[in-house]
Symmetry: C2
Subunit: 376 residues, 2 copies
């Protein structure tokens, strides 16, 4: 791990240098002379967000998450973006750096050509959705700043209609769980990661200290549909409002059966990455969990929301552990959704952005243009 960290740091220095020197080089020259800078300059810097608590989900534990902080500069205005790379999703400082080094925005002289720019970025290589999201978010921040409007206004959304965000209580010993629940007293809904042997114990531990509504994320951790249905009935009696990805994504018929029988909405997470996956989730799940790092950014997320709504499906938005940059970007869309799980920035101790806030559990958008962040 130490060796890996060392490599990451080196890669970071290399990538930053490459980012500065390799892209928009002629544009930088123009900037230096103060003359008409037309092209966009993408730069990026690796960062490691530190979790306040060791984070355990079905299958893994960790204390830090690698992120990549991106910037797109155009005509003296800078847009901020971010990629977050939890290890189980396959991206890393190395892969994101390698991808971003291939992104050459010097051919685009107009940031408003977002569809073209993001189609170009998407076409560079398959996958790499966190890397792609980091470009998408920075581009949105830039364009929002150019028109001097936050994205929720550009999209015509009412900032008062943000939902409350759930706050995630990781799997832990009963004492630590109780402590976490006390720390989360501000939130009106808590998210519980289940899918291990102590599921009922987790719920009962939480219920020993609070009656607040819960949502449950199983991360494919249950393996058998009738046992899953029994568990959902048990959870429904304990004020749980929905269940996320109870069974493995590949058990399509079982998931469809479970959704049909379930007294609670069943939400797809691992089953739905991008908009193209929604048609397969229709009739199988009640709704979808959209994450910028899964789908490639804000533009793709809006398309997914529109699609899910047209199909009559529920929509939640989730996140990774990430700074207030990516969280603020996702929150711009949140007036359109049913449930938010946008607490990633609240779980870290070394945020580098000021952005959306949480007030009595509810997400609070500000009036800053773009994605609404300022560097700390």
């Amino acid at each position: 791990m130490a060796g890996r960290r060392e490599f990451i740091k080196q890669a970071g220095i290399i990538s930053v240098a490459a980012g500065l020197a390799g892209y928009g080089c002629s544009n930088r020259k123009n900037n230096a002379t103060g003359k008409s800078a037309k092209g966009m300059i993408l730069t990026f810097k690796p960062y490691e967000v530190e979790l306040k608590h060791v984070f355990t989900i079905a299958g893994s534990s960790r204390r830090t998450t690698p992120v990549m902080l991106t910037e797109i500069e155009f005509d003296g205005i800078t847009g901020y973006g971010e990629a977050s790379m939890p290890p189980y999703l396959g991206e890393s400082h190395e892969t994101v750096s390698a991808f971003l080094q291939k992104v050459d925005l010097s051919g685009f002289n107009d940031p408003f050509l977002m569809e073209d720019i993001l189609d170009y970025v998407d076409g560079i290589a398959p996958g790499n959705y966190a890397a792609k999201a980091s470009v998408d978010i920075a581009l949105h921040d830039l364009v929002g700043k150019i028109v001097n409007q936050p994205w929720y206004r550009i999209w015509g959304l009412n900032p008062d209609k943000t939902p409350g965000t759930s706050f995630t209580i990781g799997i832990d010993t009963p004492d630590v769980v109780r402590q976490k629940v006390h720390e989360a007293a501000e939130f009106n809904i808590l998210k519980v990661k289940l899918g291990q042997d102590n599921d009922r114990e987790m719920i009962e531990t939480i219920r020993s200290v609070t009656d607040v509504p819960l949502c449950v994320d199983v991360n494919q951790g249950w393996k058998e549909k009738t046992a899953a249905l029994d568990m959902i009935h048990w959870l429904a009696e304990r004020n749980v409002v929905f269940v996320e990805q109870p069974l493995p994504a590949n058990l399509i018929d079982d998931n469809a059966w479970l959704t049909g029988e379930s007294p609670l909405p069943v939400i797809a997470d691992e089953s739905v990455q991008t908009a193209a996956d929604i048609k397969s989730a229709y009739g199988v799940y009640s709704g979808i969990n959209i994450k910028l790092m899964k789908c490639g950014g804000m533009r793709a997320a809006l398309k997914m929301i529109n699609t899910a709504r047209s199909l009559g499906m529920k929509v939640m938005m989730g996140c990774m552990t990430e700074t207030s940059c990516a969280i603020s970007a996702a929150t711009q869309l949140s007036p359109l959704i049913d449930w938010a799980d946008l607490d990633g920035n609240l779980l870290i101790s070394n945020d580098v952005f000021d952005g959306v806030k949480v007030n009595r559990g509810k997400l609070v958008l500000n009036s800053r243009p773009g994605i609404g962040v300022q560097k700390l």
Copy 2:
């Protein structure tokens, strides 16, 4: 008909007066004093667009189409909108006037709250999609003017990626058809209305004077699936690129069978009105024809495009006979679509707006903010 026209004219005067006096009255007062005008004022005026040629589709002929011209004024800026009401869709000057008189925008002090405003308008009564579109278009024009950007830029679209528009050749005698085709020499694709007894004669008449690609709109005019398939094969050999609504919308299994067997894409028109209808068209048609007057406006149309694309379906946009106002609004979205049939303004002799143009058959967006129109 004369009596009906007279009634319409009277209704028009009443509705305009009601629009001015009944809505935003207190806001007008504020305007008059020059003090903080906060609310939006909706006004509307009936108009009758005159067709250059008598227009015949399966089932009806006509020489004029009633439209309603709307305006939303806010803070000294005016947004323009339009409803078009071809009689076979059930809306009229009377119904649109009655609907718009119920629209009270005085409670909305911020035009950027488009989702809330349009949800409110949509909730006033079911149906009335042309009336709703006239509010949606005016609101988009207003907001685009406030941010001083055309909507294609706000949506991140490349104006160079507009498609060519088809130009509709109505059903007529061979001599008139040949004359119409000559007049349409500028267009790179022609639309032919079929579904009467002389379908092959129509195509052969057109093919006697031009080899330009054709698309075919049957308006549910064919009644039997195997005969329809035979006809589509015949059309495919004559450079027809897609077929719109060949069979009645209620023959779902027959339409699905036909789409599966057809050598050409089969597009839903009458089968798909709003975003909620797309899930029923998935697996039944290759794509959908989106019209602002069917779905309720630009916002709904974008949601439909996103949904159809996520489902892997083709998208065309169509229109009614309407002025350059509604056509320019639809064209803002056209860089996202496969085929445009946005020639409604070209078919009339008394346009009241200057807006998008057609150059060598291709739609040409301008750089004006909002929907890109100026009153003539």
